[in-house]
Symmetry: C2
DNA sequence: AAAGAAAGTGACAGATATGTTACCTTAATC
DNA sequence: GATTAAGGTAACATATCTGTCACTTTCTTT
């Protein structure tokens, strides 16, 4: 150590998250980042060669946090409780879900570091996928989930429906309850 | 008339669409557009002051085409057929749905023309919404759709689920059939 | 064939993002 | 207190996008 840093890694990640959600991948720049951190742009280059290096590293960080939370799905042994847990988690981590989509825009063609990070990220996605895969399998084995529905669709419904904009500001609890109901039993009167 | 144009409005729209889907709103530039059209960048400025003017106009064009198709929903008088029509339409016009989301990124703060176009676009969205609103109302009146489900969610499910990525390339027919089944009756065994 | 008008071009200036680097600052270590 | 090394800054060169404008090209009209 020689001199105290003006910004921590956490600062970097926090502000990057805000900027990513606001401007998207293409709109994210070191200029904006430096301005929001009240540091000079050059300081960031002491740690990262380009934005892809920073962002791919940050995505790994977010993904690891998410996977840790997701892992708690194994604390529940009935499929129904796991289902509730998963949908609730997705709603809590709605922003993470936005970020994950932005993460796919990072090109893995630039520096070596980015390539390595992208590989790590792919690995984490695979881990997530396997975790969820076994969740779906169990649902089908317990004869709760219809077996003829593609696994991808089971997960896709849970992942996509959290993005439905709630323009009329229906209370979150009611909103989520309705989503769960539709996924479970549909929106048609039986 | 004085001289033949090297590019038609259709050319402009077609290439803009490709670029928008590939690079998103922020990544869309007149430079890219000119290059793909094999014309000079300056030529585009003869018709549009900036990209927002072009894009907002283009979005109106796409939206009008879509609304014309959507209007055919009234050719069906049973709710169930309308439902099938709507889901099928959304799948045919998947790209249009991507574009619509990108369209929301156009700032309505630049030139007067953009403001006017944005208003027109809002109007078209309202028209679409009302059209769909009456579809949902009918479904509830016919006691096919559960009345306690928020209207926004009924539409949201139809609009969002078409975005679920079909990575494993399940045949479209089977895919769409499963989506319809889940929306209607859920993914849980009854 | 001359005049006029719309279409298109290329160059210019301004703005902003990107990497790099010489130099300054701060704090720990000797 | 001098040395060392990491942290930070500001300026520079480069690249790209933007908007404008004088000029050229092409076609129609007279």
């Amino acid at each position: 150590m020689a001199r105290e840093r003006k910004f921590s890694r956490e600062d970097l990640y926090r502000v990057s998250k805000q900027l990513l959600l606001k401007h998207g991948y293409e709109g994210f720049t070191f200029s904006l980042l430096a301005k929001d951190l009240n540091i000079s742009r050059g300081a960031i280059y002491k740690y990262y060669e380009n934005k892809d290096e920073l962002l791919s590293e940050y995505m790994i960080y977010e993904m690891e946090i998410f996977l840790n939370k997701l892992d708690k799905i194994n604390n529940y042994n009935s499929f129904n409780k796991q289902f509730d847990f998963l949908v609730d988690l997705m709603f809590q981590d709605q922003e993470m879900h936005q970020l994950r989509k932005i993460g796919f825009e990072i090109p893995h063609t630039t520096s070596e570091t980015v390539k390595i990070n992208s590989d790590t990220l792919s690995q984490l996605h695979l881990t997530m996928y396997k975790n969820l895969q076994s969740f779906v399998s169990q649902g089908k084995k317990e004869e709760i989930i219809k077996t003829h529905i593609p696994d991808e669709l089971v997960l896709g419904f849970i992942f996509q429906t959290i993005d439905i904009p709630n323009h009329t500001h229906i209370p979150q609890e009611k909103w989520i309850a309705s989503i769960k109901e539709i996924i479970r039993n549909g929106m048609f009167v039986q």
